[in-house]
């Protein structure tokens, strides 16, 4: 028994005591192979998963190191079965390798013949493999490189891909660091990605993922295809690239619902790529339009299923995924691992906050009490109507108004799910509103106004959840959401966390994140789910009654 900071549980979770003197060393040691599950104030929970262990193998760690780390830092005896399991799981990675053979092209090779035999007999890989070249090698149809990797992961024998990448069409891209500088972690992230070949970079919202993308492009020096979530985000990427790199506006094309340009650097939206007409994807040609040297996936955790299928055919091109979280609500983390690549870089939210790159946040849940009459209506409503009824109660207006008054002079966002509710709030608060119906041009104008400070209060729907840079926002008031989505909570908080310019005395911005919910309804239940997510991310939050909010 030692007095280490780590407790290894038999259910494969690792508990790290943060106040322990060795905590920082321990975190550094276990971060490569354990997934951070939650990080509330005292004890952080990590979990050992096959994907996490394989990520570590991909990064060059071996089982002995992992076991040694666990034993070194563990306070109590480590269950033997767990260590055996770690070693066995890690040994599964890399038994199979995808390689380029001088005569036969792409081959699947193994040093462990029984594994190869087992895999060859699996139904899942039927049709992906060609002729058996010798005892340890079998030819692979080049078009099946991605599908094969996916299938092998599902069989539990993930293959290491040494087959290399095409260079793509060369195109000069340089970072222009005149009045700014690439932050340390951004440079590190781009560096680790480049050495790893392909993979995913995990950085919290507001940590400047766009710049990591730009730095990766500067490494590749080649034509690049960037896939983003929506048009507004595409425009932001474009502005940022023009500002931060040697690229000019003419070299960057937008490929979206309204414009279809193909330039050396092309930014396409998920939506246009996945549009289906008469059973085919008319915009699939985009992927072959140029000899792309790099493909950037923004918000990998939202990548729609059809793009996975298209990505399976792009395994010879370098791919970088950018995201704030590897957790997918649909559980397809394995596909991200096999098709985009293993995790190449990861920096915990709190670390970056401590470095001052993202703003600290103060989270408050405000509970309003429904009036008696509204409670009766709620009690007799159909189950599917209940959330809307509870979330849209007019009682919330008064609270929202009081919060806005309290933070007078600070740029404020009111975020909601239901359009009617948003319009009503906008009318009463006399503020502009942005929803899905607002034209892109109008949205741009309003966002620009907000950034410049002309507009101090903006009511927005979920269109503002992702990838929209509003560095000036200091207060967000959430009045309704997509039920209990943790995803959404992270994104909405992310809107607030871009650090603004320091104040006159150098004081840092503190973001305020309010959630207004109706007491004793499903609204409060969903809020609890989302709050739990915040708490697990290390954001202490308070719950207050609406009556206690004074302007």
């Amino acid at each position: 028994m030692t007095d280490g900071p780590l407790i290894v549980q038999s259910d494969k979770s690792l508990l790290l005591e943060v106040d322990h003197p060795q905590a920082a060393d321990c975190r550094k040691a276990i971060a490569p192979f354990a997934e951070l599950e939650r990080s509330p104030e005292h004890i952080h929970t990590y979990r050992l998963t096959p994907l996490g262990l394989w990520n570590a193998r991909a990064a060059g760690h071996d089982a002995e190191q992992v076991v040694d780390t666990l034993l070194t830092f563990s306070r109590y005896p480590v269950p033997h079965a767990l260590l055996v399991d770690v070693a066995e799981t890690m040994a599964r990675y890399g038994r199979l390798r995808l390689e380029k053979h001088p005569n036969h092209g792409l081959v699947l090779a193994s040093t462990d013949r029984p594994v190869l035999e087992e895999v060859l007999r699996a139904k899942r890989v039927q049709g992906m493999l060609g002729a058996r070249l010798d005892d340890d090698t079998v030819a692979v149809h080049p078009s099946e490189r991605g599908n094969l990797k996916q299938a092998l992961l599902k069989l539990g024998w993930p293959a290491e891909d040494f087959a290399g990448y095409v260079d793509g069409e060369a195109h000069a891209i340089d970072l222009v660091q005149d009045d700014w500088e690439l932050r340390g972690y951004q440079a590190e992230a781009a560096e680790s990605f480049w050495h790893g070949g392909s993979g995913v970079v995990v950085l919290p919202c507001g940590a400047g993922k766009t710049l990591v993308g730009a730095a990766a492009m500067a490494h590749a020096q080649a034509t690049t295809l960037i896939l983003v979530t929506n048009t507004v985000s595409a425009r932001q990427w474009k502005d940022e690239l023009v500002k931060r790199t040697s690229l000019t506006a003419d070299e960057i094309g937008e490929y979206s619902g309204s414009v279809k340009e193909i330039r050396p650097v092309t930014i396409a939206t998920y939506q246009v790529v996945t549009t289906k007409r008469k059973g085919v994807y008319p915009h699939l040609e985009l992927f072959d339009a140029r000899d792309w040297g790099l493909i950037v996936y923004d918000e990998v955790h939202l990548l729609p299923a059809p793009i996975f299928r298209m990505t399976a055919d792009l395994q010879a091109r370098r791919r970088i995924g950018l995201t704030a979280t590897l957790v997918r609500e649909d559980g397809r983390e394995g596909d991200v691992f096999s098709l985009i690549g293993p995790k190449r870089y990861d920096a915990p939210w709190k670390d970056i906050e401590a470095q001052g790159w993202i703003a600290p946040a103060d989270c408050v849940e405000v509970r309003v009490t429904l009036p008696e009459s509204a409670r009766l209506v709620y009690a007799t409503a159909e189950a599917e109507e209940r959330y809307r009824l509870a979330a849209c109660t007019p009682e919330k207006l008064g609270v929202v108004r009081r919060i806005i008054d309290r933070h007078a002079g600070q740029p404020t966002l009111v975020i909601g799910q239901y359009i009617e509710q948003l319009h009503e709030l906008a009318d009463r608060l006399d503020a502009p509103v942005i929803t899905g119906e607002t034209t892109v041009k109008e949205r741009q104008r309003l966002f620009d106004g907000f950034r410049s400070g002309e507009i101090g209060l903006l009511v927005v729907s979920k269109v503002a959840n992702f990838s929209i840079d509003l560095p000036s926002a200091e207060v967000a008031i959430q009045v309704s959401g997509s039920f209990g989505s943790r995803q959404e909570e992270a994104q909405r908080l992310g809107r607030l966390l871009r650090p603004g310019a320091p104040g006159p005395d150098g004081e840092r911005k503190v973001a305020h994140f309010y959630t207004v919910v109706s007491r004793d309804t499903v609204d409060a239940d969903f809020a609890q789910n989302r709050q739990r997510f915040l708490a697990e991310q290390g954001y202490a939050y308070r719950i207050v009654d609406a009556e206690d909010i004074h302007s």
Binding site: P77, A81, R532, R542
Partner: protein
């Protein structure tokens, strides 16, 4: 040694020394001992084993202990054999080596017998032609055996390839004692905690039992899921808990049999971790149960269930004791090698007890797996405390010292979890369990507070203030605001609905009338209570209440569940006319006559059976001689034997041989079917 004697048939001391792979002095000493035990004797022709020993020895793996057979009656000279061996083709030589290693016998199949070596077409025919493989004899047609003298030459003139005077060495590898202790402690803590977790659950939701008292596969699956372990690990824990007397069956409310913790469990759970582990480990050590077989198919093709009474082997405790004793004898810093260690351990144990049954390798392997799972061993070696256990001592104090001391606080966090960074003091643990749900367990425990868990606490009598005070005292850090809020919120909504007992209610729009009723001196015994201005409940049932109210001069009517008033004539009570029963005289006579005729028929049938089957061997001893006689005469006999299910079956067979306590015989109907019957199971032999 004895084996060499049997192989040699009749021999001299000198020859024995050359036959046995051992120090000559050892051979002499052993021969002297065998003579002393009267297992070997000096006949005029030379040293012989006691007759019958060959049969007894054959209970082990096929052939005798060394896998060689007795020398044939006209043995070939060793040189002659060597010559013939040299003349063999490579295929035939390989075949011969294989047959010798696998027990010295083979099925003849289509091999032709009695041909010239030059005419041999297959390796087997070549062997037969050169008399290196001979027919086993008329009693076992179709079987070929390697005569003892040939086997001896193949093994270089010795009965065994390995020396017999030294036990085979164990394959070991270095292991750090710290890691051994670490691995074992980890498993030990887990095993104890899981047993407790499972029994706690079964205390609330008992597991159904099969009619055979076994545990249904579905319950095992649920238990494994609950514990977060595989089904094999779960069956081991369940078996150990049962062996330790912590788990037994009882009848549930519905009368069906269920598995629940015993009252010994209450005593067990208050002990320290070390005490609890010692109780489990001792029970395991002495238990003949075979949990490793759970889920495997038994002889009847059905999967074994955990806790099935038959799932035991008398050799298991011995296998455990011997395997662990071997591990205990390993020097510090040495552990059983991970790949080769097990076979070497099996070899060593086999050397010590050569005559144990063929399931031995399985038993030893299971013993090791189970020991590792329970924390008796770790990484192929025994930790210090387990050595004490194996030596019969008390491991509790040693284990206590190794285990982490209990902690007296938890860390409560804003995500509504409480983390106990180590084993909790039991009083604290029990109180925390009332307030929060268990989320993760291991060396530390993670609890989660939810509205439901807190409401559960309020249900069993906690008050809001008590919860706040307890959290503040148990938490080493400040209680997060969201948790305090959750507690208050739960308290606020607690008891918003009230539920009570009432046998009847009285409703009236006339509030004054109700007040009057309540105040009436004669209404006291009715148990009336006013719960709303217009509603009074009564603890008296309606059929009593109604006449009493009428006595008080009121005019109540009955209201149905649908709120409609029921008025109607009261039903007059009637009973059913009893039907005349009892027997008439005629029926009694008929029954008596039937009884007599049944008895007479049974007697006659018995006589008929007795006369039709001549009396014959009905005791085991006479059965054996009757069988020998039948073998000599080559006649068909009818044997009665008890099969594996305890059923006595009769069968007509043509006995072929009696060897090793077994009768081998052919079916009378089908001479190709050759079966073996253990002699002790045959209860009767009679001419067919």
């Amino acid at each position: 040694m004895l084996d060499a004697l049997v192989v040699a048939g009749q021999t001299t001391d000198e020859e024995l020394r050359s036959l046995v792979t051992a120090d000559p002095a050892y051979v002499d000493a052993t021969v002297a001992r065998l003579r002393g035990l009267a297992l070997a004797w000096d006949s005029p022709e030379g040293l012989r084993p006691l007759s019958g020993i060959a049969d007894v020895l054959a209970a082990g793996p096929p052939g005798y202990v060394s896998g060689l057979r007795s020398r044939s009656s006209r043995p070939l000279d060793a040189d002659e054999v060597r010559e013939r061996l040299d003349a063999l083709g490579p295929g035939a030589r390989r075949l011969l080596d294989h047959v010798v290693d696998e027990g010295g016998q083979a099925k003849a199949g289509s091999t032709r017998i009695g041909i010239d070596p030059d005419a041999a077409e297959t390796p087997a025919e070549e062997l037969v032609a050169r008399r290196l493989l001979v027919p086993a004899g008329s009693t076992q047609p179709g079987l070929l055996v390697v005569p003892g003298e040939v086997g001896l030459v193949v093994r270089g003139g010795r009965t065994t390839a390995a020396p017999v005077d030294r036990p085979p060495e164990l394959a070991t590898e270095p292991a750090m004692p710290r890691l051994v202790t670490n691995a074992a402690l980890g498993s030990a803590t887990d095993a104890v905690r899981r047993v407790e977790l499972l029994l706690d659950r079964w205390g609330h939701q008992p597991a159904g039992a099969l009619r055979s008292t076994g545990l249904p596969a579905r319950e095992l699956k649920a238990a494994a899921g609950h514990l977060g372990v595989g089904e094999a690990a779960a069956s081991l824990l369940i078996e150990v808990a049962a062996a330790a007397g912590l788990l037994a069956t009882r009848a549930d409310a519905g009368g069906s049999s269920v598995w629940v913790p015993t009252d010994a469990y209450d005593e067990w759970r208050v002990g320290s971790l070390a005490q609890r582990w010692t109780a489990l480990a001792r029970a395991w050590l002495a238990s003949p149960r075979l949990p490793s077989l759970v889920g495997e198919r038994g002889p009847d093709g059905k999967a074994w269930n955990a806790l099935t009474p038959e799932l035991a082997a008398s050799g298991m405790p011995e296998a455990k004791a011997m395997a662990l004793a071997e591990l205990a004898d390993l020097p510090d810093g040495q552990a059983l090698a991970s790949g080769t260690g097990l076979p070497s351990l099996v070899g060593r144990v086999t050397w010590m007890r050569p005559r144990r049954p063929r399931t031995r390798p399985d038993l030893v392997a299971w013993a090791l797996t189970e020991a590792a799972a329970l924390g008796v061993s770790g990484g192929g070696a025994l930790p210090s405390y387990a050595r004490l256990l194996v030596a019969g001592g008390d491991p509790t104090p040693a284990l206590d010292e190794l285990l982490p001391p209990p902690v007296d606080h938890v860390l409560i966090q804003a995500d509504l979890t409480a983390v106990a960074p180590g084993p909790l003091e039991s009083a604290l643990e029990r109180r925390l369990q009332q307030l929060a749900d268990l989320e993760s367990h291991g060396s530390a425990t993670v609890y989660r507070f939810t509205r439901d868990s807190l409401r559960g606490a309020l249900d069993i009598g906690w008050s809001g203030a008590e919860i706040h005070a307890f959290l503040a005292s148990a938490s080493r850090t400040e209680v997060p605001q969201p948790l305090s809020y959750l507690v208050d919120d739960t308290v606020r909504s607690f008891g918003r609905l009230r539920v009570g007992f009432a046998a009847a209610f009285i409703r009236s729009e006339d509030e004054a009338a109700l007040v009057e009723l309540l105040r009436h001196p004669k209404s006291e015994s009715l148990g009336l209570q006013r719960i709303a201005p217009t509603v009074v409940v009564a603890s008296t049932p309606v059929d009593v209440l109604l006449p009493r109210l009428r006595e008080l001069g009121l005019a109540p009517v009955i209201e149905g569940v649908d709120g409609v008033v029921r008025v109607g004539a009261t039903e007059e009570l009637r009973a059913r006319t009893p039907r005349p029963h009892g027997s008439t005289r005629g029926a009694g006579d008929a029954r008596r006559a039937a009884q007599v005729s049944v008895a007479v028929r049974a007697l006659r049938e018995g006589d008929a059976v007795a006369t039709s089957r001549p009396a014959s061997a009905s005791s085991p001893a006479s059965a054996l001689s009757a069988l020998r006689e039948a073998i000599e005469l080559g006649v068909v006999v009818r044997i009665a034997f008890t099969d594996n299910h305890g059923v006595i079956t009769e069968r007509d067979v043509r006995p072929a041989s009696v060897e090793g306590g077994q009768l081998s015989a052919y079916d009378a109907d089908d001479p190709d079917v050759d079966r073996r019957y253990p002699i002790h199971r045959i209860s009767r032999v009679s001419p067919a």
